[in-house]
């Protein structure tokens, strides 16, 4: 075969093999590793799946943080001023995690509707709000009524 053609053939087959391998990997990796975001109202309404990891975002309800005295377990409620969801987390919380502040918790829902979190993210800057949380809170303010703690 003509060397230039041979060269092209090698190039084209390499591109095909690599890109199909990459596409396969991407599809495989995306299947299990993307998390949908849900505001508390959707979780309480039962719209969130219970068999996989989700992200829950909103504000930490004032007075809802309970820390254990013996280990690192913490529970708190997350609200979008429409509904509230309890979250349990075991481990060290970020520095900017506080009552009345925005938070995103990642984890799975148990049968009782509590989110067992594997990761808790708080905002990093006091002017900054995670976009998902901002969107979830849009048009809803604390003045519509204090979040309730059942």
């Amino acid at each position: 075969m003509h060397p230039v053609r041979k060269q092209r053939l090698i190039l084209v087959s390499l591109v095909v093999v690599l890109s199909s391998a990459a596409t396969g990997l991407v599809a495989f990796a995306l299947r299990d590793n993307i998390n949908l975001f849900y505001p508390p109202a959707d979780v309480v309404a039962g719209k969130a799946p219970t068999d996989r990891s989700i992200r829950l975002g909103g504000m930490v309800v004032e007075g809802s943080i309970e820390r254990s005295d013996t280990d690192l377990d913490t529970t708190f409620w997350v609200t979008d001023y429409e509904a509230s969801v309890p979250v349990r987390y075991s481990g060290i919380l970020p520095d900017l995690f506080a009552e009345g502040e925005g938070v995103v918790a990642e984890g799975t829902l148990d049968e009782s509707g509590m989110l067992v979190a594997t990761q808790v993210l708080a905002k990093h800057d006091e002017n900054y709000m995670p976009p998902e949380v901002a969107a979830a809170l849009e048009g809803k303010t604390a003045s519509q009524g204090q979040p309730f703690l059942p």
């Binding site: 690599l18 991407v26 820390r67 280990d71 520095d95 990093h124 976009p131």
Partner: protein, 659 residues
């Protein structure tokens, strides 16, 4: 008065940048030597006025002029002076000014070191960079003016700098990273200039190459510092989070890696020309995309400052213009005639092509993961997030794929080579590395870890290839002794960078596999063990800093009764903002880091504590340092210097115009 002067300086710089974007370009089109000759002076002019604006803003910060909005929002009278200075770029407006300052610095560098280049080339390159400068200066002046005043309601004191950013790492991380980010505008400008002139040849690649290597080297160093800073400052001991903004800097790096290698082929062999140009365009486009992602606040990230849709839109339009314009130019002007130079399937060209394919595909998968949530959100298909598992699953196999070829690269010949020769060179050392990998893998942990064995094998394989290549170069059969003089900066830089890459891979795999971590509750007198180390909490005390008060815990760490060190992690409360920050304590060494961070107080006399033992984590940053330094070393190669002296000094402009 000072801020107003700064504002005026910035406006003058903007006007000069418009001049730079228009006049030399017009001159190049009309073959007007006088117009083209203005390019270097205009570039220096822009630099001077941007530098004046930058210096005046720095003065406002150092003098605590809280009538300036950014100073009030990001500084405080209690802040140590060095952090007052670095607070300048710890915010959106100031960091944009730094961006422009570094861009103009690169323009001046090009103007200074390119005297030997044809005038028309210099004029076009500087003009293209001028266009970029106009875009960013307009962005700064129109949407994020750093000199905005808070009059008459001047606050008495400032809001303070985010405590996370009150750290020496922040003083150097952004400038270095921007050197790399913005530096990619130089190969971009060279590519566009070459497309305009229709001159895409080996000498073009030779001009562009040192700039690309240096920019890419700075980008490497900037990313390394960012990773190191996150490790010790964010308090949970991670070194890479696949955070969207990390990806924003990593994508130009991946593209740049492909570009650096593709330029080598273009310079040496004159092939891959159109591809190289395309890579240069994409690399810079990705740095603009990165700027968009960071500055628009569309993503949840450590780096995002307060969001402002107007700013995001501005960069998005600018990005569309730059990418669209350059791709259009590419479509119109890319060389349509295929190069006549041919090469065999088994050759250095083919190996470098594999490098290019792998790094391009890596860029695409990282890009996909980073933009996927944005795209889904834009089409209202739900709010997704793509986490580290995705990136690890796609990225790690790709890197493993490229490493077997990396060892062969330095030994291979251009044009035509044989697999038999490769086998002859590498079979014995390769088998040696295999044995070492099998022996080493169980050390440090109880059972055989196949991933560590694989990492040792691949990293060792790469190192063997580099060392064998080095040996081939300097050893001679006929005369005794080694010919060190044959060791060019080019080869030395490549060897350093490749060895560094091997070190990064080794460090990343070992620390990911063997990291030990425990979150627990500890009171004074408690003893906990982690691996071979005993951690005892000796005491708790309060410690005052210049602008914070800290709760400090004192730990003694022992191994076999021998005292390794006293570690003092802190939890600080900053006065001005009331913000709380974790300051981790680290006992660092080449083979392992011990890492202690405080969580919250539990009850009266106890704290939540995170203990970590991170083997070989330093190798990551040492390796990245080697990559970055290697890239900088290559630019010292003599052929880039002799290039300049070969062009007659007299009337270079006229000669170039004629040619």
């Amino acid at each position: 008065m000072i801020p107003e002067l700064g504002h005026v300086a910035l406006i003058i710089a903007f006007v000069l940048a418009i001049g730079l974007a228009v006049v030399p370009m017009w001159g190049a089109m009309r073959r007007d030597v006088a117009a083209m000759n203005m390019a270097p002076s205009l570039a220096v002019g822009v630099t001077v006025f941007v530098a004046v604006a930058f210096a005046l803003l720095a003065v406002s910060f150092l003098q605590d002029d809280f009538s300036v909005a950014v100073v009030a929002a990001n500084s405080n009278s209690l802040l140590p002076p060095i952090f007052k200075f670095s607070a300048l770029w710890g915010n959106h407006e100031g960091s944009l000014l730094l961006w422009v300052l570094i861009l103009s610095g690169w323009m001046t560098a090009v103007a200074t070191f390119s005297r030997g280049l044809p005038l028309v080339m210099v004029a076009r390159v500087l003009s293209v960079m001028g266009v970029v400068a106009v875009g960013f200066l307009a962005f700064s002046l129109l949407t994020s003016n750093p000199f905005e005043r808070l009059l008459p309601n001047t606050p008495l004191d400032g809001n303070d700098l985010n405590p996370l950013l009150q750290d020496p790492g922040l003083i150097i991380h952004p400038p270095l990273l921007y050197m790399g980010y913005v530096g990619l505008s130089v190969p971009f400008a060279f590519a566009i200039a070459a497309l305009m002139g229709g001159r895409l040849d080996a000498s073009w690649a030779r001009w562009s190459r040192p700039w690309t290597n240096v920019a890419w080297g700075f980008l490497t160093l900037g990313i390394m510092l960012g990773s190191w800073w996150a490790y010790y400052e964010l308090g949970w001991g991670g070194w890479w989070f696949w955070d969207p903004v990390e990806n924003a800097s990593f994508m130009p790096w991946l593209m740049g890696t492909a570009l650096v290698h593709s330029l080598a082929v273009t310079e040496k062999r004159g092939v891959f020309r159109s591809w190289t140009v395309l890579l240069a365009i994409f690399a810079f486009s990705l740095s603009l995309l990165g700027t968009f992602l960071v500055r628009s606040g569309v993503l949840t990230s450590v780096h995002a400052f307060a969001a402002d849709p107007e700013r995001g839109l501005f960069i998005l339009i600018f990005l569309a213009l730059v990418v669209g314009g350059s791709l259009l130019l590419y479509a119109l002007r890319a060389p349509s005639v295929a190069s006549r130079v041919s090469y065999g399937g088994v050759s250095r060209e083919s190996l470098l092509m594999i490098n290019n394919l792998v790094f391009t595909v890596s860029t695409i998968v990282v890009l996909l993961g980073t933009l996927f949530p944005l795209i889904m959100d834009a089409f209202s298909l739900g709010k997704y997030s793509v986490g580290p598992p995705y990136f690890n699953a796609v990225f790690v196999p790709l890197m493993a794929l490229v490493m077997p070829f990396m060892a062969v690269g330095p030994l291979s010949r251009w044009r035509e080579d044989t697999t038999r020769r490769w086998l002859h060179e590498l079979l014995v050392p390769g088998l040696g590395v295999l044995v070492v990998a099998i022996v080493l893998a169980p050390l440090g942990s109880e059972d055989f870890n196949v991933w560590i064995a694989l990492a040792v094998l691949l990293a060792g394989w790469v190192a063997v290839g580099v060392l064998k290549g080095l040996w081939r170069l300097i050893a001679t059969r006929t005369e005794g002794g080694l010919k060190w003089r044959r060791l060019t900066p080019s080869f030395l830089g490549m060897a350093l960078a490749h060895l560094g890459f091997a070190a990064v891979v080794l460090g990343a795999v070992v620390v990911s596999q063997e990291n030990q971590e425990r979150d627990l509750r500890m009171a004074v007198g408690d003893v906990e063990t982690l691996g071979a180390y005993r951690f005892e909490l000796m005491s708790l005390r309060q410690q005052a800093g210049p602008n914070y008060l800290a709760d400090q815990a004192v730990f003694e760490v022992r191994r076999d009764q021998e005292l390794i060190g006293v570690l003092m992690p802190e939890k600080r409360r900053y006065f001005a903002s009331g913000r709380i920050m974790t300051e981790a304590a680290i006992d660092a060494s080449l083979w392992r880091d011990l890492y202690i961070a405080l969580g919250e107080p539990i009850g009266e006399q106890a704290w939540a504590v995170r203990l970590q033992c991170k083997p070989m984590v330093r190798w990551l940053w040492l390796g990245a340092l080697m990559i970055g330094l290697g890239a900088l070393v290559t630019a010292l190669d003599r052929r880039y210097r002799s290039q300049r002296s070969t062009v007659p000094a007299a009337a270079p402009g006229v000669a170039a115009v004629a040619g």
